[in-house]
Amino acid sequence: MLDAAMPKSDFSAANTPPPRRASLLVAEGLCFEANGHRLIASLDLQLDQGSRSVIMGPNGAGKSLLLRLIHGLLKPSAGSVAWAGCDVGRATKQRQAMVFQRPVLLRRSAAANVRYAMAVHAVPRHEREARLQFVLQAAGLEHLAAKPARVLSGGEQQRLAIARALSIRPQVLFLDEPTASLDPASTLAVENLIQHAHAAGTKIVLVTHDIGQAKRIADDVVFMYRGQVEEHSSADKFFGNARSARAQAYLDGRIVL
């Protein structure tokens, strides 16, 4: 159903996509401190255009923090984040969207939530209805368009949050453990949405604890440990034979201290 509903062109992120494999994100010497604790310490990271990057690591490694730093929700204490050569800021945020573990929906109808995002991003008025119908259909929510967003089920809410994110046709979609509190059917629906967004050319940056999910989605894996990137490999390498002993231990289901 989703396949039929989703012609690639509708998610196409940029008019002229940069050449594949070029570094889209470059973070250098990234530090973040809070209350005297170094939560991210001199972190370097490069993410490629177009791939599905999955960030993994034990609790407290700084995954969500890293996501917020590269999205620009938090300011680094030191270091820099650049998207396609531009400093992270409002200009680049125009082409980014983020979905949180617990979806934050406005106290409005499902459709109004999507319309709000499009209005903020100055989507031309004549395009809005078509896009709205498209993303709601993609998320399987068209029959709930008029419902207050906050009476939807958890899975429906998360799909709506992603639909809202996709309505602005982001270059990059950040997802912070989007299925952590969802049942398997809802998780599958969310993963399908992510896959189709990617198929339409949107860069995916996903934080997850779910190793199965990482295996289903990842092109490359960033494994974090104590505020550092412990390993950044392609998915094949990482799941086949992780370089880092800690990553391997994590994949084996052992506790990584």
């Binding site: 409002r90 949180f100 934050v104 406005l106 106290r107 409005r108 903020v120 009476v151």
Partner: protein, 235 residues
């Protein structure tokens, strides 16, 4: 006290007989207080939202000031406005003294800080929830204020009710700037003060009961509206 029984009877009689003097006073009370609350909301809601949402220096101080201004003494405000609107005062030329306009200003001044302070609290809670999402969407500060004001609108109704309660029950300021002039600036509270000073405690009490009933009716109406909204999860 036989006054209680007499007051009940009198209140009932006044209401059922549609006493025209009473009707006039009640309408003026509602007119003055509702307009004052409206004005106070126009000023107070954005101020409360700005303090809740803004990330500026002195925000903590602004909160403290707002909260303490909730308790502005009506008599002092009345006196300050009397001196302002008096013919000898800076705004005497407006000829507002001893008119409902002056009473509206007085109540609005008393109510605006209440609206602002309570709105700040309500909006602060909502903004904590929305903050990351809105910043992620790239929403600027003004649109953020507009968004939280709109989405908190049913909670803010309760806030405006608190303001209305203060306004309709207030006597100290309106009696000074309004003058309690019969047919012109006499409202429920100043009428009650007058009847009390005449020693007509039963009539004063009857008027008081009617005042309380009006406050209850207005509250019930707004709460019903809010409950309908809550049921459909907009609140």
């Amino acid at each position: 006290m036989q006054d209680f029984g007499a007051a009940f009877g009198l209140a009932f009689h006044l209401i059922t007989s549609g006493d025209s003097a009473l009707t006039e006073i009640v309408l003026l009370s509602l007119r003055v207080s509702l307009t004052a609350v409206l004005l106070a909301c126009v000023v107070g809601l954005p101020v409360g939202a700005a303090v809740a949402v803004g990330r500026f220096r002195g925000r903590g101080l602004a909160t403290v000031i707002l909260n303490s201004m909730m308790g502005l003494p009506p008599v002092v405000i009345g006196l300050l406005l009397y001196l302002t609107f008096s013919n000898a005062g800076p705004l005497g030329a407006l000829e507002l003294l001893y008119t409902p306009g002056a009473m509206i200003v007085a109540q609005a001044v008393l109510v605006a800080p209440i609206v602002a302070a309570l709105a700040r609290q309500v909006i602060d809670d909502l903004h904590r929830e929305y903050d990351e999402q809105l910043r992620s969407l790239g929403v600027g500060p003004w649109r953020t204020i507009a968004t939280v004001l709109w989405d908190a609108r049913y909670s803010l109704l309760t806030v405006s009710l608190a303001g209305f309660g203060r306004a309709i029950a207030e006597v100290g300021a309106v009696i000074i700037v309004g003058g309690n002039i019969n047919h012109v600036t006499r409202v429920m509270t100043t009428a009650i003060a007058l009847e009390t000073s005449k020693g007509d405690l039963a009539l004063a009490l009857a008027l008081g009961m009617i005042l309380i009933s009006i406050a209850v009716a207005v509250n019930a109406g707004v709460m019903a509206l809010k409950a309908t909204a809550s049921r459909s999860a907009y609140a």
